[in-house]
Symmetry: C2
Subunit: 375 residues, 2 copies
């Protein structure tokens, strides 16, 4: 996938940098985590022992709109320059956070009025406004503004919501086409512009997913996301919905499943044909002392196990989190030390746990890429 700020090898996992920071992980570490990425466009690693780092990260439009404000970020030259991250980025539309975090939402065909979860102030997001904010932020990929239906929702409710999402997708696209030259880095990256992805909705109904995919493909976006999944439904349903949606999306364009998942899920979805995924899980779990490891450290295809670093078993375990992991944390620190940091509430614990989990995710995806490339 070739983007203004660089090439990305797919399938790819994107760490989430909610407020223009992947929580507790410095940017120079993000540039070195995970394994070496192979293939054209692979990022140059720093020094011996370093990996290639995250190829692309995500930032949240809702959060950055509220704080520090998209106009401030525009004046800073865009979110890449603001946070000092020169590799590709993606912003979501703000829709998901408006529906999940904010208070007193009022939805009309025009858009959504909501109150900030920070200070209760009133705001209005329309598809056009979401595009304007995302153009100011200037990520390489921006997302159409969509409605996320509550779950569970009836077929009729889901169909109506999907219809609104389609109208908003068309309006998002129209605004993007007219305004994309306004991106803050337009002058620095001549002839390059942001890509806008459409978002397939349709809840847990295969017929609606098909209809939504077809409608969006008619609109002809440079890439397509599958939204509204991993919102509490059983995992079999998630997989079924992904499978039934992928059938109707062109394989030669990026296909992105938003907000997933556990390491075994991202591997499974990648094998099904998903090109992009993002999730707060590796960093959030890390902050809570949950570490992903392989059941058999020597076999990187063995089942994923969750290690709870708090547990007393780790108190005197002087081995690494995962003896088969080559991340900077596993190379240097013991389970005993990480348990001590967590038990003592030391901020370094959150940082090191997050680095390991992100490395674990990137390692998983690099292995899957290699296996897919070899057929």
């Amino acid at each position: 996938m070739t983007l203004p700020h660089g090439a990305v090898q797919t399938p790819v996992f994107m760490p989430v940098g909610t407020a223009a920071t992947v929580k507790a992980v410095p940017q120079d570490v993000l540039e070195k985590i995970g394994p070496r990425v192979e293939g054209p466009g692979a990022s140059e690693p720093g020094t011996a022992g370093d990996g290639s780092g995250a190829q692309i990260i995500l930032a949240n439009t809702y959060h950055l709109y509220l704080r520090p404000g998209h106009e401030l970020i525009r004046r800073a030259g865009g979110v890449h320059r603001f946070m000092s991250w020169e590799r590709p980025m993606l912003t979501d539309s703000g829709g998901f956070q408006v529906f999940s975090l904010s208070k007193l939402r009022e939805i009309s065909p025009e858009g959504v009025e909501f109150r900030s979860h920070i200070d209760g102030s009133k705001h209005f997001f329309s598809p056009e406004h979401s595009m304007a904010v995302q153009i100011a932020l200037g990520a390489d990929i921006m997302m159409a503004f969509d409605e996320c239906v509550e779950t569970p929702a009836s077929w009729e409710r889901t169909r109506d919501s999907m219809g609104l999402t389609h109208d908003w997708a068309a309006r998002s696209k129209a605004y993007w086409e007219q305004h994309r030259h306004e991106v803050p880095w337009a002058a620095a990256f001549e002839d390059k512009h942001q890509a806008l992805f459409g978002i397939v909705q349709g809840g847990m109904y295969a017929d609606l997913r098909k209809e939504s995919a077809e409608r969006l493909v008619e609109m002809d976006f440079p890439g397509y996301a599958i939204g509204g999944l991993a919102v509490g439904e059983p995992r079999e349903v998630t997989r079924e919905m992904i499978a039934r949606t992928l059938e109707h999306l062109p394989p030669d364009k990026p296909r992105y499943v938003m907000g997933v998942g556990y390491p075994d899920e991202i591997e499974e979805y990648a094998r099904m044909g998903v090109d992009m995924m993002d999730c707060v899980l590796p960093t959030r779990a890390g902050r809570h002392g949950l570490l992903f490891i392989r059941e058999n450290p020597a076999d990187r295809t063995s089942p994923v196990v969750r290690l709870n670093i708090k547990k007393l078993d780790n108190a005197e375990d002087h081995g690494p989190i995962d003896a088969g992991c080559s991340c900077s944390v596993c190379r240097r620190y013991s389970r005993a030390y990480l348990r001590h940091l967590f038990a003592s509430g030391e901020p370094l614990g959150a940082t090191l746990n997050s680095i390991h989990n992100l490395s674990f995710y990137l390692e998983t995806m690099e292995r899957v890429r290699g296996e897919l490339a070899r057929g």
Copy 2:
């Protein structure tokens, strides 16, 4: 100063790693902060642009005794191996924290009974027990167990407390001489052992400071600390007490002022002949959004200014914290971004602010070392 884990160029500032972690700063970053250190024993820097890092760090005996426990750290091979820090370290005696953090202290000539600030459990520290704990931790330098008198205290009260400190210093030394071979790394570092420093007390009374220094010098320690300062007294008094104590300490042995100070103070004390200092200020101030900078960034001897990153002036300041600072944070991030991180409560803010402040301290000391070396 030649220590089992390496040589240290003095005068030196020692970052504080309370619970075997310099709060919010990873060990590999600590190895690269600050400027390049010159002279024999200077640490090898990593890659281009990196500094030599902290030469020596401190850990707190009281904290590590309570959590994770010194016996656990002994079994891990000592605090160096436990936290993966192979450069020199120093542990305090636990005395200061027993007197400042714990509850229900009861002091007798034998030692101090106290309750943990974490869970209220009852503990007893004698000079012998402090030594046993510090030998288990295995830092390069350990400190005699002393009583820290409250401030202000009368001359009589200070004299009596000082007398207890002298008795405890003698008992500390006797225990250290008999048990120092028990350090966990004894086998790995043949013929090398921990150094024990005596601590001069005497409150704010020059005659008592003189008496305390003379008594300790008679006992013949490998190094001497000046304790009980920077506890709320005016800065002129701190300086006066340091000056009046230094006169009575041999200049050919390390002289360490505990728990100081602001950047201009550590510079001043270094010029007075102090060889070692430690303070939580750079990291604690960093976590609170206070950054040390030079009034004139181009003149590194110009006055120190405190920048409050929270302030609205920084919201759209896209320049670095300190344009004359070569630290990794000033090279990469803007004031605007650091303000955003702080205002959003993002953990990366504490990390980056701490890295800058520690680098600022190390830069200051490296400059002073150069100036002293050139006479």
